[in-house]
Symmetry: C2
């Protein structure tokens, strides 16, 4: 590859000129990229904000994730945090740090993933600004904004005994996809693109859930309108995240093992599905299915028995510094 | 150092518990850290947003910058971008990625720098959320928000012939400080803490301007109220950033060499001072001093002659991957 095709070869300005046209426009944008800062509309006088980094090594392997996947997942995981407040995502800012030898096409692919991720998951949400830096470690930081449309945010702390526990989106698929990649997508113990390619063809749902997840972003707003008492984004697994709701709300979450399904559904992380609690009399909004009932007490129960697993199967927990 | 004192040793939750009490509170915060996202007030139905990364290696050396400096500078550089729109900074979100062997005290120092930087530069602005990740490269991404208080944002594109060019804040000090560090703060060509320490004592203004700058954040609002037609944050040097105003506005900026001072004042970057243009009849707000006059034409002139230097002396331009 010629240096004319790398970030270091063409420099920041030329790289940005190739990326900007690929980025999604935000309908809430009042002033976009190109000045010291952007200006975004906040119609009800408030905005929701969340930020999340994706780091080469602990968070993704380039042998498995395409640049498009990285952009898509960086959007999806942040959009899910906005949705979990009951808000509608309005805009993103994206800061990317990459080694100087990085091909410009990698940045273009990330931009394409951001665009198509926003268009598919949160139409109208776009990129209003960002930053491009040099680093030895490819790093993507997305900060996402949302509009509560005049509603109160849905916190983790509002669940009450008697509430129905429900979820929108997959459970355990992202973890199953990651397990497949670790078990069959490696060569000599290292992440390997050739070994991973057939997995994506054979198990598109599971591997796709890991590499380019499709959380139900629009359902966050629906849950808020339906009166959700508590909600969060399932990033670390149902059991572990349900425990967070239980702790914040001062209640117990009693899950029904038949409704939950598998052990992987209980413990697998990174689905970015929406876990919500609804008052007993509420009709669950479209896309939500029941998982159990909130009770007095504390922690997470399965079929009435305390669930002890730490949950959140995480193959990077003992991350050894390899980046793959 | 025992692993009990490192990020990897005590883990994310315990680290966050030690950082949170050190972070500055934001008066515009409606919901702070601890849920999926924060909620921030945007009184006039809009918010200003900017994001900027600081990367170990190209952007700072740990031999020269203390953790406190890093937090301070990460706040200052982003606050200056908000101020350059004529806005009042309201809140930050901060995403930090650090190697697992990083001492927790480093994170505490960064938090202290963020807090004292906000308190000194933009009282009332605070940290409303963030993210903590593992990475091989210490990386700090700050996203900053501001309130335009009902005014139009001050863009780069509004300068008109006859306008007075003015600046608030230092010119060339940060570059002079960096030059001192590169010339005298090294040992065997590598950044060295012991060699740098006496420089900070002997040249506190210059070295401080580089490591923990004090841009005139509150003057952005004053400039907007005084009718500034264009404004930006001087991050890449007066000449280079003035050229940006000239290009965006379709005018020439004619600088007076006596008013500017030294060559370093023209070309040195990272001052984060505010360059603004004001209508001829306007009284310059407190803290701004004149540098020259906007004329018809294009580019940057010094005493009426086109200034050819690319400007923005940047010792990292040929960054070799060393982190120091």
């Amino acid at each position: 590859m010629s240096t004319a095709d790398t970030l270091g070869g063409i420099g920041e300005s030329a790289t940005l000129a190739r990326i900007f046209p690929r980025l999604p426009a935000a309908s809430h944008q009042l002033l976009g990229p190109g000045d010291d800062a952007a200006v975004v509309s906040a119609p009800d006088g408030r905005f929701v904000v969340t930020t999340d980094m994706m780091i080469h090594g602990p968070d993704f392997r380039l042998a498995w994730s395409s640049p498009f996947d990285l952009g898509w997942k960086a959007a999806a995981s942040n959009l899910a945090d906005v949705a979990a407040m009951g808000a509608v995502p309005t805009a993103l800012v994206v800061a990317i740090a990459a080694p100087e030898h990085t091909a410009v096409s990698v940045l273009e692919g990330i931009a394409d993933g951001l665009r198509e991720g926003c268009e598919f998951l949160a139409p109208g949400c776009g990129v209003v600004g960002g930053d491009l830096s040099a680093s030895n470690t490819l790093t993507i930081t997305v900060t996402a904004f949302g509009d509560l449309e005049g509603r109160a945010p849905v916190l983790r702390s509002g669940a009450r005994p008697g509430d129905t526990i429900a979820v929108a989106g997959a459970l355990g698929e992202a973890a199953a996809g990651l397990r497949l990649l670790f078990e069959q997508g490696t060569l000599d113990g290292e992440p390997n693109a050739a070994a991973a390619a057939p997995l994506r063809e054979r198990y598109p749902e599971l591997v796709g859930a890991q590499l380019a997840p499709r959380p139900p972003i629009g359902h966050g707003r629906l849950a808020a309108i339906a009166g959700a008492t508590a909600m969060l984004d399932l990033s670390d697994g149902l059991a572990l995240d349900a425990r967070r709701v239980a702790r914040a709300s001062g209640v117990a979450l009693n899950l029904d093992s038949v409704l939950v399904g598998s052990r992987e559904a209980l413990d697998g992380g990174e689905d970015h599905s929406l876990l919500a609690c609804f008052p007993p009399q509420a009709t669950l909004p479209e896309g939500f299915r029941p998982l159990g009932v909130v009770t007095a007490g504390g922690g997470v129960l399965v079929d009435g028995t305390e669930y002890e697993s730490l949950g959140g199967w995480d193959p990077y927990a003992g991350w050894n510094g390899g980046v793959g």
